[in-house]
Protein backbone atom coordinates (compact mmCIF):
# COMPACT_ATOMS: atom_id res chain seq x y z
CA UNK A 1 0.00 0.00 0.00
CA UNK A 2 1.19 3.53 -0.84
CA UNK A 3 1.53 5.80 2.13
CA UNK A 4 -1.10 8.52 2.19
CA UNK A 5 -0.10 12.11 3.05
CA UNK A 6 -3.29 12.54 5.05
CA UNK A 7 -1.90 10.18 7.69
CA UNK A 8 1.76 11.22 7.80
CA UNK A 9 3.31 12.69 10.92
CA UNK A 10 6.49 13.66 12.64
CA UNK A 11 6.48 12.14 16.11
CA UNK A 12 9.14 13.69 18.29
CA UNK A 13 11.47 13.83 15.30
CA UNK A 14 10.54 10.43 13.85
CA UNK A 15 9.01 10.71 10.38
CA UNK A 16 6.17 8.25 10.10
CA UNK A 17 3.94 7.38 7.13
CA UNK A 18 0.96 6.87 9.43
CA UNK A 19 0.17 6.98 13.14
CA UNK A 20 0.06 3.18 13.56
CA UNK A 21 2.80 1.55 15.60
CA UNK A 22 3.36 -2.16 16.23
CA UNK A 23 3.40 -2.49 20.03
CA UNK A 24 6.45 -3.82 21.83
CA UNK A 25 6.47 -7.54 22.55
CA UNK A 26 3.70 -8.22 20.07
CA UNK A 27 5.64 -8.00 16.83
CA UNK A 28 9.00 -9.62 17.58
CA UNK A 29 11.67 -7.70 15.65
CA UNK A 30 9.29 -7.00 12.80
CA UNK A 31 10.09 -10.10 10.74
CA UNK A 32 7.56 -12.63 12.01
CA UNK A 33 4.61 -11.16 10.14
CA UNK A 34 6.25 -10.68 6.74
CA UNK A 35 4.20 -13.61 5.41
CA UNK A 36 1.08 -11.51 6.01
CA UNK A 37 1.83 -7.81 5.57
CA UNK A 38 4.71 -5.65 4.44
CA UNK A 39 6.21 -4.20 7.65
CA UNK A 40 6.46 -0.89 5.78
CA UNK A 41 2.69 -0.58 6.17
CA UNK A 42 3.34 0.45 9.78
CA UNK A 43 4.16 4.01 10.76
CA UNK A 44 6.77 2.45 13.06
CA UNK A 45 7.60 -0.81 14.82
CA UNK A 46 8.67 -1.09 18.45
CA UNK A 47 10.71 -4.23 19.03
CA UNK A 48 10.60 -6.57 22.01
CA UNK A 49 11.85 -5.27 25.35
CA UNK A 50 15.64 -5.43 25.26
CA UNK A 51 17.84 -5.78 28.33
CA UNK A 52 21.57 -5.46 28.94
CA UNK A 53 22.12 -9.20 29.44
CA UNK A 54 20.14 -11.97 27.70
CA UNK A 55 17.04 -13.04 29.63
CA UNK A 56 15.59 -16.57 29.44
CA UNK A 57 12.11 -15.41 30.42
CA UNK A 58 9.51 -17.07 32.62
CA UNK A 59 8.62 -20.78 32.64
CA UNK A 60 5.40 -21.87 30.91
CA UNK A 61 2.50 -21.45 30.88
CA UNK A 62 3.11 -17.84 29.94
CA UNK A 63 -0.24 -16.90 28.49
CA UNK A 64 -3.89 -17.43 29.27
CA UNK A 65 -6.97 -16.10 27.58
CA UNK A 66 -9.47 -13.97 29.52
CA UNK A 67 -12.81 -12.44 28.46
CA UNK A 68 -11.95 -10.24 25.46
CA UNK A 69 -8.32 -10.26 26.44
CA UNK A 70 -5.31 -12.26 27.53
CA UNK A 71 -2.71 -12.29 30.26
CA UNK A 72 0.96 -12.67 29.42
CA UNK A 73 3.95 -13.28 31.63
CA UNK A 74 6.76 -13.57 29.11
CA UNK A 75 9.27 -12.19 31.58
CA UNK A 76 11.14 -10.08 29.03
CA UNK A 77 12.73 -13.02 27.22
CA UNK A 78 15.27 -11.47 24.86
CA UNK A 79 18.80 -12.14 23.63
CA UNK A 80 20.26 -8.95 25.15
CA UNK A 81 21.47 -5.69 23.65
CA UNK A 82 24.79 -7.06 22.35
CA UNK A 83 23.09 -9.76 20.30
CA UNK A 84 20.59 -7.17 19.15
CA UNK A 85 23.38 -4.92 17.88
CA UNK A 86 25.27 -7.74 16.17
CA UNK A 87 22.51 -9.86 14.69
CA UNK A 88 19.31 -7.86 14.48
CA UNK A 89 20.18 -4.22 14.00
CA UNK A 90 21.86 -4.84 10.59
CA UNK A 91 18.59 -6.28 9.26
CA UNK A 92 16.28 -3.52 10.49
CA UNK A 93 16.72 -1.24 7.49
CA UNK A 94 15.02 -3.95 5.42
CA UNK A 95 11.76 -3.41 7.28
CA UNK A 96 11.13 -0.13 5.47
CA UNK A 97 9.73 1.76 8.47
CA UNK A 98 11.19 3.44 11.55
CA UNK A 99 12.09 1.09 14.39
CA UNK A 100 12.15 1.96 18.06
CA UNK A 101 13.84 -0.22 20.63
CA UNK A 102 11.95 -0.89 23.84
CA UNK A 103 14.49 -1.05 26.69
CA UNK A 104 14.23 -2.36 30.23
CA UNK A 105 16.73 -2.62 33.07
CA UNK A 106 16.94 -4.07 36.53
CA UNK A 107 18.81 -1.04 37.79
CA UNK A 108 19.03 2.60 36.83
CA UNK A 109 22.59 2.00 35.61
CA UNK A 110 21.42 -0.77 33.32
CA UNK A 111 18.90 1.52 31.64
CA UNK A 112 21.69 4.06 31.06
CA UNK A 113 24.12 1.46 29.73
CA UNK A 114 21.62 0.09 27.21
CA UNK A 115 20.67 3.61 26.17
CA UNK A 116 24.27 4.62 25.52
CA UNK A 117 24.95 1.39 23.60
CA UNK A 118 22.02 2.28 21.33
CA UNK A 119 22.91 5.95 21.01
CA UNK A 120 23.55 6.90 17.39
CA UNK A 121 23.02 3.35 16.11
CA UNK A 122 21.78 3.47 12.51
CA UNK A 123 18.44 1.80 11.93
CA UNK A 124 17.27 2.65 15.44
CA UNK A 125 14.96 5.66 15.20
CA UNK A 126 14.34 6.04 18.92
CA UNK A 127 13.99 4.40 22.28
CA UNK A 128 10.92 3.43 24.24
CA UNK A 129 11.89 3.21 27.88
CA UNK A 130 9.80 0.53 29.55
CA UNK A 131 9.27 1.52 33.16
CA UNK A 132 6.07 -0.45 33.31
CA UNK A 133 6.69 -4.17 32.76
CA UNK A 134 4.53 -6.09 35.24
CA UNK A 135 6.25 -9.45 34.69
CA UNK A 136 9.75 -9.12 36.10
CA UNK A 137 10.69 -9.21 39.74
CA UNK A 138 13.27 -6.46 39.59
CA UNK A 139 13.07 -3.31 37.53
CA UNK A 140 10.18 -2.70 35.19
CA UNK A 141 7.14 -1.50 36.99
CA UNK A 142 8.92 -0.82 40.25
CA UNK A 143 10.56 2.13 38.49
CA UNK A 144 7.37 3.40 36.98
CA UNK A 145 5.32 4.20 40.04
CA UNK A 146 7.25 6.92 41.83
CA UNK A 147 7.44 10.30 40.05
CA UNK A 148 10.80 11.15 41.68
CA UNK A 149 12.35 7.86 40.60
CA UNK A 150 10.93 8.32 37.10
CA UNK A 151 12.33 11.83 36.83
CA UNK A 152 15.77 10.66 37.95
CA UNK A 153 15.76 7.65 35.62
CA UNK A 154 14.52 9.49 32.55
CA UNK A 155 16.94 12.38 32.97
CA UNK A 156 19.86 9.96 33.26
CA UNK A 157 18.72 8.03 30.17
CA UNK A 158 18.23 11.37 28.45
CA UNK A 159 21.92 12.15 29.02
CA UNK A 160 22.93 8.76 27.61
CA UNK A 161 20.78 8.90 24.49
CA UNK A 162 20.44 11.82 22.10
CA UNK A 163 17.73 10.51 19.76
CA UNK A 164 13.95 10.54 20.20
CA UNK A 165 13.07 9.25 23.65
CA UNK A 166 9.68 7.78 24.44
CA UNK A 167 8.77 6.73 27.97
CA UNK A 168 6.23 3.96 28.41
CA UNK A 169 3.95 4.45 31.37
CA UNK A 170 2.00 2.11 33.55
CA UNK A 171 -1.39 2.73 35.01
CA UNK A 172 -0.43 0.69 38.06
CA UNK A 173 1.26 3.85 39.28
CA UNK A 174 -2.13 5.00 40.45
CA UNK A 175 -1.28 8.58 39.64
CA UNK A 176 -0.32 8.36 36.00
CA UNK A 177 -0.42 12.11 35.43
CA UNK A 178 2.20 12.79 38.10
CA UNK A 179 4.48 10.18 36.54
CA UNK A 180 3.79 11.59 33.08
CA UNK A 181 4.75 15.09 34.20
CA UNK A 182 7.91 13.77 35.80
CA UNK A 183 8.92 12.04 32.57
CA UNK A 184 8.20 15.19 30.58
CA UNK A 185 10.24 17.35 32.96
CA UNK A 186 13.11 14.89 32.64
CA UNK A 187 13.23 15.31 28.88
CA UNK A 188 11.01 12.62 27.39
CA UNK A 189 10.04 13.52 23.80
CA UNK A 190 6.86 11.45 23.88
CA UNK A 191 4.98 9.15 26.23
CA UNK A 192 3.38 5.84 25.41
CA UNK A 193 0.55 4.39 27.43
CA UNK A 194 -0.60 2.06 28.63
CA UNK A 195 1.34 -1.09 29.32
CA UNK A 196 -0.58 -4.17 30.37
CA UNK A 197 -2.31 -4.27 33.75
CA UNK A 198 -1.47 -7.00 36.22
CA UNK A 199 -4.10 -9.70 36.57
CA UNK A 200 -4.46 -13.39 37.31
CA UNK A 201 -6.55 -16.43 36.50
CA UNK A 202 -7.03 -19.45 38.75
CA UNK A 203 -7.52 -22.96 37.39
CA UNK A 204 -10.35 -24.10 39.65
CA UNK A 205 -9.91 -27.73 38.63
CA UNK A 206 -6.28 -27.82 39.77
CA UNK A 207 -6.78 -25.16 42.45
CA UNK A 208 -3.81 -23.10 41.44
CA UNK A 209 -2.95 -20.10 39.29
CA UNK A 210 -2.84 -20.87 35.56
CA UNK A 211 0.32 -18.89 34.89
CA UNK A 212 3.61 -20.21 36.23
CA UNK A 213 4.43 -16.59 37.14
CA UNK A 214 1.09 -16.47 39.03
CA UNK A 215 0.24 -13.05 37.58
CA UNK A 216 0.42 -11.66 34.06
CA UNK A 217 -0.30 -8.48 32.15
CA UNK A 218 -3.78 -7.98 30.71
CA UNK A 219 -3.96 -6.83 27.09
CA UNK A 220 -6.59 -6.79 24.39
CA UNK A 221 -10.06 -5.24 24.02
CA UNK A 222 -10.85 -5.65 27.74
CA UNK A 223 -8.17 -3.04 28.44
CA UNK A 224 -9.41 -0.42 26.01
CA UNK A 225 -11.78 1.80 28.02
CA UNK A 226 -9.23 2.05 30.82
CA UNK A 227 -6.48 2.94 28.36
CA UNK A 228 -8.60 5.59 26.65
CA UNK A 229 -9.27 7.16 30.04
CA UNK A 230 -5.54 7.12 30.82
CA UNK A 231 -4.76 8.91 27.55
CA UNK A 232 -7.52 11.42 28.21
CA UNK A 233 -6.14 12.30 31.65
CA UNK A 234 -2.51 12.34 30.57
CA UNK A 235 -3.22 14.55 27.56
CA UNK A 236 -4.51 17.16 29.95
CA UNK A 237 -1.39 16.98 32.09
CA UNK A 238 1.45 17.16 29.56
CA UNK A 239 2.24 18.76 26.23
CA UNK A 240 4.52 16.11 24.70
CA UNK A 241 2.85 13.84 22.12
CA UNK A 242 1.21 10.63 23.35
CA UNK A 243 1.20 7.15 21.83
CA UNK A 244 -2.04 5.51 22.96
CA UNK A 245 -2.53 1.77 23.17
CA UNK A 246 -4.61 -0.91 24.80
CA UNK A 247 -7.02 -3.18 22.96
CA UNK A 248 -7.06 -1.39 19.61
CA UNK A 249 -8.53 -3.63 16.88
CA UNK A 250 -10.33 -1.29 14.50
CA UNK A 251 -10.07 2.21 13.06
CA UNK A 252 -12.85 3.27 15.38
CA UNK A 253 -10.85 2.03 18.38
CA UNK A 254 -7.80 3.93 17.13
CA UNK A 255 -9.89 7.07 16.66
CA UNK A 256 -11.04 6.90 20.28
CA UNK A 257 -7.43 7.18 21.41
CA UNK A 258 -6.67 9.93 18.91
CA UNK A 259 -9.73 11.90 19.92
CA UNK A 260 -8.76 11.47 23.58
CA UNK A 261 -5.46 13.17 22.75
CA UNK A 262 -3.06 10.59 21.29
CA UNK A 263 -0.89 11.63 18.36
CA UNK A 264 -0.16 8.02 17.43
CA UNK A 265 -1.54 4.64 18.45
CA UNK A 266 0.02 1.24 18.97
CA UNK A 267 -1.53 -2.12 18.17
CA UNK A 268 -0.44 -5.24 20.03
CA UNK A 269 -2.73 -8.14 20.79
CA UNK A 270 -4.96 -7.48 17.75
CA UNK A 271 -2.13 -8.65 15.48
CA UNK A 272 -2.38 -12.12 17.00
CA UNK A 273 -6.03 -12.27 16.03
CA UNK A 274 -5.76 -10.48 12.71
CA UNK A 275 -2.32 -10.02 11.16
CA UNK A 276 -3.90 -7.63 8.66
CA UNK A 277 -4.94 -5.21 11.44
CA UNK A 278 -2.53 -2.51 10.31
CA UNK A 279 -3.88 -2.51 6.78
CA UNK A 280 -7.51 -2.55 7.85
CA UNK A 281 -7.09 0.18 10.46
CA UNK A 282 -5.21 2.40 8.00
CA UNK A 283 -7.96 1.97 5.42
CA UNK A 284 -10.59 2.67 8.06
CA UNK A 285 -8.88 5.88 9.15
CA UNK A 286 -8.77 7.12 5.57
CA UNK A 287 -12.43 6.25 5.12
CA UNK A 288 -13.29 8.27 8.21
CA UNK A 289 -11.35 11.26 6.90
CA UNK A 290 -13.15 11.04 3.56
CA UNK A 291 -16.59 10.65 5.07
CA UNK A 292 -16.05 13.62 7.34
CA UNK A 293 -14.21 15.85 4.89
CA UNK A 294 -11.07 16.05 6.98
CA UNK A 295 -7.81 16.86 5.21
CA UNK A 296 -5.38 15.36 7.74
CA UNK A 297 -5.91 13.03 10.67
CA UNK A 298 -4.08 15.40 13.00
CA UNK A 299 -7.20 17.57 13.04
CA UNK A 300 -8.74 14.80 15.14
CA UNK A 301 -6.06 14.70 17.86
CA UNK A 302 -7.86 15.58 21.06
CA UNK A 303 -11.06 16.26 19.12
CA UNK A 304 -13.23 14.80 21.87
CA UNK A 305 -11.78 17.35 24.26
CA UNK A 306 -12.59 20.35 22.07
CA UNK A 307 -16.18 19.33 21.68
CA UNK A 308 -16.88 19.38 25.40
Amino acid sequence: MRSDPRLSLNLAGIKMANPLIAASGCYGYGFDYTGFVDPAEWGAIVVKGTTLKPRAGNPPPRIVETPAGMLNAIGLQNPGVEYFLEEIQPRLAGLGCPVLVNIAGETLEEYCQIASLLDGVPGVSGLEVNISCPNVRRGGISFGCDPDVVEDLVSRVREAYRGPLVVKLSLEAGNITAVARAAERAGADALSLINTLKGMVIDVGRRRPVLANITGGLSGPALRPIAVRAVWETAEAVSVPLIGMGGIRTASDALEFIMAGATAVAVGTANFVNPLSVREITAGLLRYLEQNGIAHYSALIGAARNER
Binding site: T34, M70, V273
Partner: protein, 268 residues
Amino acid sequence: MLEQKPSLIHRCQLKTNEQVTGTWHCLKLHAPDLCGARPGQFVHVRVGASSDPLLRRPFSIHHVVAEKNEIWLLVRSVGAGTELLLQARPGAVLDLLGPLGNGFPVVDEAAPALLAGGGIGLAPLYYLAWLRRQAGLPFELLIGAASCSDLPADDYFAAQDLHPLYATEDGSHGYRGLITGLLEQRLREGTPPARIHACGPLPMLAGVVELGRRFAVPTHVSLESHLACGVGACLGCAFPFKKGGQIEYRRICKEGPVFNGEEVCFEI
Protein backbone atom coordinates in the same frame (compact mmCIF):
# COMPACT_ATOMS: atom_id res chain seq x y z
CA MET B 1 11.80 -3.72 1.06
CA LEU B 2 11.55 -7.33 2.05
CA GLU B 3 10.93 -10.01 -0.49
CA GLN B 4 7.17 -10.56 -0.77
CA LYS B 5 6.30 -14.07 0.33
CA PRO B 6 3.01 -15.78 -0.49
CA SER B 7 0.36 -14.72 1.98
CA LEU B 8 -0.20 -17.05 4.91
CA ILE B 9 -3.72 -15.83 5.62
CA HIS B 10 -6.55 -17.73 3.98
CA ARG B 11 -10.31 -17.67 3.86
CA CYS B 12 -11.46 -21.23 3.34
CA GLN B 13 -14.90 -22.61 2.83
CA LEU B 14 -15.99 -25.46 5.08
CA LYS B 15 -17.18 -28.38 2.96
CA THR B 16 -18.17 -30.84 5.67
CA ASN B 17 -18.13 -31.03 9.44
CA GLU B 18 -18.77 -34.57 10.57
CA GLN B 19 -18.61 -36.26 13.92
CA VAL B 20 -15.94 -38.94 13.91
CA THR B 21 -16.42 -40.18 17.45
CA GLY B 22 -17.66 -38.72 20.74
CA THR B 23 -16.36 -35.17 20.87
CA TRP B 24 -14.19 -35.44 17.74
CA HIS B 25 -15.16 -33.94 14.41
CA CYS B 26 -13.44 -33.98 11.06
CA LEU B 27 -13.61 -30.66 9.22
CA LYS B 28 -12.94 -30.72 5.48
CA LEU B 29 -12.03 -27.36 3.99
CA HIS B 30 -11.58 -26.05 0.49
CA ALA B 31 -8.01 -24.79 0.84
CA PRO B 32 -5.95 -25.00 -2.36
CA ASP B 33 -3.22 -22.79 -0.88
CA LEU B 34 -2.73 -25.09 2.08
CA CYS B 35 -2.36 -28.34 0.17
CA GLY B 36 1.42 -27.99 0.22
CA ALA B 37 1.47 -28.22 4.03
CA ARG B 38 3.84 -30.78 5.52
CA PRO B 39 2.66 -33.31 8.11
CA GLY B 40 3.06 -31.87 11.60
CA GLN B 41 2.49 -28.30 10.45
CA PHE B 42 -0.58 -26.55 11.76
CA VAL B 43 -3.12 -23.87 10.94
CA HIS B 44 -4.18 -21.14 13.37
CA VAL B 45 -7.93 -20.79 13.14
CA ARG B 46 -10.21 -17.91 14.01
CA VAL B 47 -13.09 -19.66 15.77
CA GLY B 48 -15.50 -16.71 15.91
CA ALA B 49 -15.86 -13.13 14.80
CA SER B 50 -16.33 -11.58 18.25
CA SER B 51 -13.67 -10.73 20.86
CA ASP B 52 -14.59 -13.68 23.05
CA PRO B 53 -12.93 -16.07 22.56
CA LEU B 54 -10.34 -13.62 21.33
CA LEU B 55 -7.38 -15.71 20.27
CA ARG B 56 -7.10 -18.15 17.39
CA ARG B 57 -6.87 -21.89 18.04
CA PRO B 58 -4.18 -24.12 16.49
CA PHE B 59 -4.97 -27.42 14.76
CA SER B 60 -2.68 -29.84 12.99
CA ILE B 61 -3.01 -30.63 9.34
CA HIS B 62 -4.82 -33.94 9.65
CA HIS B 63 -4.92 -34.82 5.98
CA VAL B 64 -4.51 -33.26 2.54
CA VAL B 65 -6.44 -34.36 -0.54
CA ALA B 66 -4.64 -32.31 -3.15
CA GLU B 67 -6.75 -33.42 -6.10
CA LYS B 68 -9.83 -32.07 -4.29
CA ASN B 69 -8.02 -28.92 -3.01
CA GLU B 70 -8.98 -30.13 0.42
CA ILE B 71 -7.41 -30.11 3.86
CA TRP B 72 -8.83 -31.93 6.87
CA LEU B 73 -8.72 -30.93 10.52
CA LEU B 74 -9.50 -33.38 13.31
CA VAL B 75 -10.91 -31.33 16.17
CA ARG B 76 -11.67 -32.50 19.67
CA SER B 77 -14.07 -30.30 21.60
CA VAL B 78 -12.47 -29.36 24.93
CA GLY B 79 -13.63 -25.81 25.64
CA ALA B 80 -15.27 -22.64 24.41
CA GLY B 81 -13.10 -22.19 21.32
CA THR B 82 -13.37 -25.70 19.94
CA GLU B 83 -17.10 -25.83 20.74
CA LEU B 84 -17.68 -22.68 18.74
CA LEU B 85 -15.59 -23.96 15.84
CA LEU B 86 -17.52 -27.20 15.72
CA GLN B 87 -20.76 -25.25 15.34
CA ALA B 88 -19.60 -24.06 11.90
CA ARG B 89 -21.83 -25.43 9.14
CA PRO B 90 -20.83 -26.45 5.63
CA GLY B 91 -20.58 -23.32 3.48
CA ALA B 92 -19.17 -21.24 6.34
CA VAL B 93 -15.94 -19.42 5.55
CA LEU B 94 -13.14 -19.90 8.07
CA ASP B 95 -10.17 -17.60 8.53
CA LEU B 96 -6.92 -19.59 8.80
CA LEU B 97 -3.24 -18.73 9.15
CA GLY B 98 -0.84 -21.28 7.80
CA PRO B 99 0.78 -23.54 7.15
CA LEU B 100 2.74 -22.74 10.33
CA GLY B 101 5.51 -24.50 12.21
CA ASN B 102 8.13 -26.97 11.02
CA GLY B 103 6.49 -30.41 10.68
CA PHE B 104 7.84 -33.96 10.95
CA PRO B 105 10.79 -34.95 8.80
CA VAL B 106 9.81 -37.43 6.09
CA VAL B 107 13.00 -39.45 5.82
CA ASP B 108 13.71 -42.08 3.20
CA GLU B 109 15.36 -45.00 4.99
CA ALA B 110 15.05 -48.76 4.89
CA ALA B 111 14.07 -49.27 8.54
CA PRO B 112 10.49 -48.42 9.47
CA ALA B 113 9.41 -45.26 11.24
CA LEU B 114 7.13 -45.80 14.22
CA LEU B 115 4.30 -43.26 14.43
CA ALA B 116 2.76 -43.05 17.91
CA GLY B 117 -0.39 -40.99 18.42
CA GLY B 118 -2.00 -40.59 21.83
CA GLY B 119 -5.66 -39.56 21.64
CA ILE B 120 -6.20 -36.52 19.43
CA GLY B 121 -2.42 -36.60 18.90
CA LEU B 122 -3.10 -39.02 16.08
CA ALA B 123 -4.28 -36.05 13.98
CA PRO B 124 -0.94 -35.14 12.34
CA LEU B 125 0.31 -38.75 12.24
CA TYR B 126 -2.57 -39.78 10.01
CA TYR B 127 -1.23 -37.54 7.24
CA LEU B 128 2.38 -38.51 7.92
CA ALA B 129 1.42 -42.17 7.65
CA TRP B 130 -0.49 -41.55 4.43
CA LEU B 131 2.45 -39.69 2.89
CA ARG B 132 4.84 -42.48 3.78
CA ARG B 133 2.44 -45.01 2.30
CA GLN B 134 2.31 -42.94 -0.93
CA ALA B 135 6.08 -42.72 -1.06
CA GLY B 136 6.52 -46.43 -0.33
CA LEU B 137 8.41 -45.72 2.90
CA PRO B 138 8.01 -48.28 5.69
CA PHE B 139 6.12 -47.27 8.83
CA GLU B 140 3.91 -48.60 11.58
CA LEU B 141 1.10 -46.53 13.06
CA LEU B 142 0.41 -46.96 16.78
CA ILE B 143 -2.64 -45.37 18.35
CA GLY B 144 -3.60 -45.10 22.00
CA ALA B 145 -6.71 -44.07 23.90
CA ALA B 146 -8.55 -44.80 27.13
CA SER B 147 -11.11 -46.94 25.30
CA CYS B 148 -11.96 -47.84 21.71
CA SER B 149 -15.11 -45.69 21.96
CA ASP B 150 -12.77 -42.68 22.17
CA LEU B 151 -11.26 -43.48 18.79
CA PRO B 152 -12.50 -43.24 15.21
CA ALA B 153 -13.75 -46.55 13.83
CA ASP B 154 -11.29 -48.81 12.00
CA ASP B 155 -12.69 -47.83 8.60
CA TYR B 156 -11.67 -44.20 9.22
CA PHE B 157 -8.11 -45.50 8.85
CA ALA B 158 -8.79 -48.31 6.41
CA ALA B 159 -10.23 -45.75 3.97
CA GLN B 160 -6.65 -44.48 3.55
CA ASP B 161 -5.25 -48.00 3.64
CA LEU B 162 -3.93 -47.38 7.17
CA HIS B 163 -4.04 -50.26 9.64
CA PRO B 164 -2.94 -49.04 13.05
CA LEU B 165 -1.94 -51.07 16.07
CA TYR B 166 -4.13 -50.07 18.99
CA ALA B 167 -3.50 -49.65 22.68
CA THR B 168 -6.50 -49.03 24.93
CA GLU B 169 -6.31 -48.66 28.67
CA ASP B 170 -9.45 -50.76 29.16
CA GLY B 171 -8.32 -53.36 26.65
CA SER B 172 -11.36 -52.81 24.43
CA HIS B 173 -9.23 -52.75 21.27
CA GLY B 174 -5.76 -54.21 20.77
CA TYR B 175 -3.09 -54.05 23.44
CA ARG B 176 -4.36 -53.45 26.99
CA GLY B 177 -2.52 -50.55 28.55
CA LEU B 178 -0.83 -47.31 27.61
CA ILE B 179 0.53 -46.60 24.17
CA THR B 180 4.02 -46.43 25.66
CA GLY B 181 3.53 -50.05 26.78
CA LEU B 182 2.64 -51.05 23.25
CA LEU B 183 5.58 -49.09 21.90
CA GLU B 184 7.95 -50.81 24.32
CA GLN B 185 6.63 -54.22 23.28
CA ARG B 186 7.13 -53.28 19.65
CA LEU B 187 10.67 -52.01 20.27
CA ARG B 188 11.55 -55.28 22.02
CA GLU B 189 10.12 -57.61 19.44
CA GLY B 190 10.04 -56.12 15.94
CA THR B 191 12.66 -54.92 13.46
CA PRO B 192 14.58 -52.01 14.96
CA PRO B 193 12.97 -48.79 13.69
CA ALA B 194 14.89 -45.88 12.24
CA ARG B 195 13.01 -43.30 14.30
CA ILE B 196 9.88 -42.62 16.33
CA HIS B 197 7.42 -39.80 15.61
CA ALA B 198 5.01 -39.02 18.41
CA CYS B 199 2.20 -36.65 19.25
CA GLY B 200 0.02 -36.73 22.34
CA PRO B 201 -0.15 -35.63 25.96
CA LEU B 202 3.09 -34.54 27.64
CA PRO B 203 3.48 -37.58 29.96
CA MET B 204 3.15 -39.86 26.94
CA LEU B 205 5.79 -37.90 25.02
CA ALA B 206 8.13 -38.05 28.01
CA GLY B 207 7.63 -41.84 28.04
CA VAL B 208 8.29 -42.08 24.31
CA VAL B 209 11.53 -40.14 24.60
CA GLU B 210 12.63 -42.35 27.50
CA LEU B 211 11.98 -45.46 25.38
CA GLY B 212 13.82 -43.93 22.44
CA ARG B 213 16.80 -43.37 24.70
CA ARG B 214 16.70 -46.93 26.04
CA PHE B 215 16.46 -48.51 22.60
CA ALA B 216 18.76 -45.96 20.95
CA VAL B 217 16.12 -44.75 18.50
CA PRO B 218 15.84 -41.03 17.66
CA THR B 219 12.50 -39.44 18.61
CA HIS B 220 10.59 -36.53 17.08
CA VAL B 221 7.82 -35.24 19.33
CA SER B 222 5.13 -32.69 18.58
CA LEU B 223 4.47 -30.40 21.56
CA GLU B 224 1.37 -28.43 22.45
CA SER B 225 0.65 -25.30 24.41
CA HIS B 226 -1.76 -22.43 24.25
CA LEU B 227 -0.67 -20.12 21.47
CA ALA B 228 -1.30 -16.43 21.02
CA CYS B 229 0.28 -15.24 17.75
CA GLY B 230 1.25 -18.66 16.36
CA VAL B 231 3.96 -17.04 14.22
CA GLY B 232 6.84 -16.49 16.64
CA ALA B 233 6.18 -12.88 17.57
CA CYS B 234 4.92 -13.00 21.16
CA LEU B 235 7.06 -15.68 22.90
CA GLY B 236 3.91 -16.89 24.65
CA CYS B 237 4.38 -20.55 23.67
CA ALA B 238 7.95 -20.99 24.91
CA PHE B 239 8.91 -24.43 26.20
CA PRO B 240 12.13 -25.37 28.02
CA PHE B 241 14.91 -27.25 26.23
CA LYS B 242 18.27 -28.56 27.35
CA LYS B 243 21.23 -26.94 25.73
CA GLY B 244 24.77 -27.43 26.96
CA GLY B 245 23.68 -28.00 30.56
CA GLN B 246 21.46 -24.94 30.47
CA ILE B 247 17.77 -24.28 29.97
CA GLU B 248 16.77 -22.46 26.84
CA TYR B 249 13.23 -21.57 25.82
CA ARG B 250 12.12 -22.29 22.27
CA ARG B 251 8.86 -21.35 20.60
CA ILE B 252 6.50 -24.24 19.99
CA CYS B 253 4.86 -22.36 17.12
CA LYS B 254 8.06 -21.41 15.33
CA GLU B 255 10.98 -23.75 16.08
CA GLY B 256 8.35 -26.51 16.58
CA PRO B 257 5.85 -27.91 17.11
CA VAL B 258 8.04 -30.94 16.26
CA PHE B 259 11.27 -31.21 18.25
CA ASN B 260 14.11 -33.65 18.75
CA GLY B 261 12.81 -35.56 21.77
CA GLU B 262 16.26 -35.73 23.41
CA GLU B 263 16.40 -31.96 23.81
CA VAL B 264 12.97 -31.42 25.34
CA CYS B 265 13.03 -30.64 29.05
CA PHE B 266 10.01 -32.54 30.37
CA GLU B 267 10.81 -31.89 34.04
CA ILE B 268 8.87 -28.64 34.46
